[in-house]
Symmetry: D3
Subunit: 226 residues, 6 copies
């Protein structure tokens, strides 16, 4: 019986303008190692700073928010292609554009599948949650540029403390008030939490460098409780 792990790879990994592609390589290496441990891996890539630049330009030109989402999705797919390149022949070579395509790919190949966003109105966090739900994944790892969930935004308040675990309703409260403009989806938005909650998918928020640790069962980041 297959054990699926879904890994949401934050857009920050693809901040090409600032960091080049070293982080992409690092994530690829961890996913490869996870596969060697027997995991069937699906990765969902976020947008990063290129997405933000495009979205800002398009908003300034008068695009609708739904069109901005569409634009962001294109960039997340470009990021998916980068991760596929880094994975080489371990990656499924085509990027699924619907959940149905994801399911077909997962049924026909044991390669690591990489995808970006799917539809306007849905963050890549929500996509990752839906993918985990569809595949009956044993774990969703949300890999981001902080090492877990803090009581407050640690970049603004240095006294914020990291939580080892957090109840999903508590987490929603923390996120509330974060607004919802295209390209500014927060680390875990309401939709994705609702999806995780309705299917009680084991989920961990951690940093990109700890993906493999999380899949090895080490206690990293913040677990979400239901």
């Amino acid at each position: 019986m297959d054990r699926f792990a879904v890994v949401k790879v934050s857009g920050a990994v693809f901040d090409l303008l600032d960091r080049g592609n070293e982080m992409v390589r690092g994530v690829a290496e961890q996913l490869r190692a996870a596969r060697d441990l027997g995991w069937r891996v699906v990765a969902v890539t976020g947008g990063g700073n290129v997405a933000r630049i495009y979205i800002r330009a398009a908003r300034d030109l008068g695009a609708s928010e739904a069109a901005l989402d569409e634009l962001g999705i294109l960039i997340t797919r470009a990021n998916a292609e980068l991760l596929i390149a880094a994975l080489g022949n371990l990656a499924y070579p085509s990027v699924p554009r619907t959940l149905d395509e994801l399911l077909a790919a997962s049924a026909s190949s044991r390669d690591i599948i990489v995808m970006g966003g799917l539809q306007p109105g849905q963050s890549t966090n929500a996509v990752a949650a839906l993918a985990a739900e569809s595949l009956g994944a044993e774990i969703l790892v949300n890999a981001t540029d902080v090492d877990g969930v803090y009581t407050e935004d640690p970049r603004r308040n240095p006294s914020a403390t990291k939580l080892e675990a957090v109840r999903v309703d508590e987490l929603m409260r923390i996120l509330d008030g974060s607004g919802h403009r295209a390209g500014t989806y927060e680390l875990l938005d309401h939709v994705s939490l609702r999806i995780l909650e309705r299917s009680r998918i084991p989920a961990v928020v951690t940093s990109y460098s700890r993906i493999l640790d999380a899949l090895r069962g080490e206690r990293v980041g913040t677990r979400i409780l239901y």
Copy 2:
């Protein structure tokens, strides 16, 4: 310059098992009249009791929540076909399955466009909000089986009072705690409200019999304020 109106038609209109298709006919008549008033109309159909029966059966058989969403979407599309039948040659004859197909249809025809759901994880309310956003609609009418938003669920508490208008954040608080299982999406869920909010789309919640009144500018149902 085109004036678009998006009308979310609640699944209850398609409760074929209880009511036959009289309500479908009634909604079609109002949309036709709205078109005669110069509106370009896009209707989004919900699921109704057939959707609930299928979802219950599939959940009982062990389907994932995402698969249940997929199943619900199929039924909303069957409902869209019913409304198309009732509209006759005023309806665009094909049901868009993505926002992109909706945009292409709206650019190539002035017929009334009818669509159902799009993707798992997204209620038809969210679809309606995204459609309104994409098309730059002047109004979103959420036509349902209550005549507006009440301070509490009027079916449970008879002393609940109808609101003439409600702020979007207030509305979210009212909805909170409603859960989020496939097929039980409430009248206006968080995602759809976030979308309405981010684009400040004028929106009204009213009953199916007052769609035309709402499009004529009469003060019916409950307006959403931003």
Copy 3:
């Protein structure tokens, strides 16, 4: 070398309104057992009473017969999703919508593939026959709510006798005069018989409870001779 069996599952199995989903479960169990015997199984699901309710409503609203077929196809796909749910991880998770998608799925996965209708003007019996032809299936089992082909309709004439085998041209004569309105496709229509005939596909008509028996080679139902 793969041995394909195509099983047409009559819509009556999906008469959710009358029977719940016990029969769906029963069919799934037999298909699973057939797979354990080494068969590669493709199932084609019919419409059932929900399809008939939708078709009646749409006809009453003035839909064309082709649109009624389209509506029926949506419901057969919803039924396919139910059977997929019941099969769990033995089922190919996506429903093919063209013969080409069926062929691609069959070439890329050994899961049980479940599909509904394909195109207006074609019954799901015809789809099953085309699937059998395309895959070079060794047998087509037409599983329905009677236990075989009778000299006359057994529900109308109690003295009708079951045939152990019937020549295809004889069978066409029996079917003649049955009319051809959407949603009322008879158990084996002309098109499907012509397809079976042109490719001489071994076929058996039997009841849902005997699918596995038929695939085990037992003498059940009525064989079609060429």
Copy 4:
């Protein structure tokens, strides 16, 4: 209100190997004239001798009958491209591959739409009948290389007489026994007649040179009665 005419153009018009493209030009001219008379025209092209050559070769190589149909459909689409070329900028420039695409094209453009076959198991006559049904066409003209329906095959029996009109059930009897191998579909097969019958679509069988006459309401060929 639009008046649609569907014209089935027999494959013989595209017998390029024997006749070049003069007949294609002749048909195009008549369709153009029909359009000038106010008809909205949809043409469905058959296979012709190239289709037969391919089908014979593929059958000899061991293809399934369904694959032969698929091959025939490719050639009918090539023929559709020829007719589009002959119609120049009066033709819709893309060939619909599903009924749904036909409906979308017909709703978004007033050009002459040309299509070939759709799916294995369905002759282009059946496609033409479905198209007529979907569009609510006022007439279906079946343009072929004989000038109507004869009491017997006129190529075999010179004493066969042409019928001015024929009842659909009588016509089915005439066709019976014609077999049903891919690429040998007769002028009007069972499926297409059933579709015409279920929707009582006014239909005429006539020769390619009389398409325009038929659309002008002249008494040409053989009318089908219900």
Copy 5:
């Protein structure tokens, strides 16, 4: 009779990182004005510096050249979305992904159509030439960051002189030796010139600021002769 103009908009217009979106706005204004002059406009957008950054990163990660092309195409489509945003409701709201989709869009709407690349192995110059050929365009304007074709690369050799007109075979000689790595397609590559040549499409190479002038028939840039 429609007069189509195809405008290739060089990727440099979308060098967001260096220039923001002022140039996008400027191009949009000219296209709008061209439309007011009666032109039916199709714009094809190039890649720009974001495309180059992605392609460099993916090449470094080991992607195949075909995959790099695919990545570049994604970014050209993101650029198309920017131009659509700038054109507002004068733009066709969906980006064609095949020539067939372009033709369908052009037959069903009079909006300005914007598209990016189509397929690996084909520059956006080639796409523009194919679009012009398919639509029977009266002119192809290749708008780039130099004001025409020079005897040599003017950025390297300041004594290069601009040509008022150039024969297509002469132009090919000038381009020869330019290499052909993904993302480095030169201003007019061999394929696009061959396409222009085979259909003798009137073509002009000029700067972005002179698009409208070229469409007004002014003598700007360099004409290509056949």
Copy 6:
């Protein structure tokens, strides 16, 4: 690690009108043998004389060159179906229509994949080169009706001598002046050579009867050097 071989099968193999299908069978046999040697085989089929007949007819009727390409692609796909028939159950049963579909097929099945053309403006030689590039193929065999590259066209000049190897730039010079009308693509056109060159794909031009020899590593035909 998979070793991919891409085989371009010249259209002449499919000159059904002159030769029947013996050559198709011969090519199939060699591909089968190649598979037994451990190669993962992708075949790309050209057009042949049927393609030329269609293209001539359509050009005469006024089709655009891009439409002629489209027509040629349909015929190459019909040829692909023939080769699939000849390969029987060793062939992937569906013909990829995009590079992305090819990649998905290659990741999900080890069958021999057969495809025709992809898009206007691209010869099937270019498609073969792109396929080889995408898959990281170890060799591209261009199987045609001459046994290699000659100093001049051997059909015109009998004193032309066959080259054992040729540098890619030398080869381009030989091809120059060959024109570029749809359906007359020469044995190896500029685009395909540029693609081979940019990825330095080992390539051999040889006759259809030596495909297997080339894949066995024998010194047949003409090697292309970079």
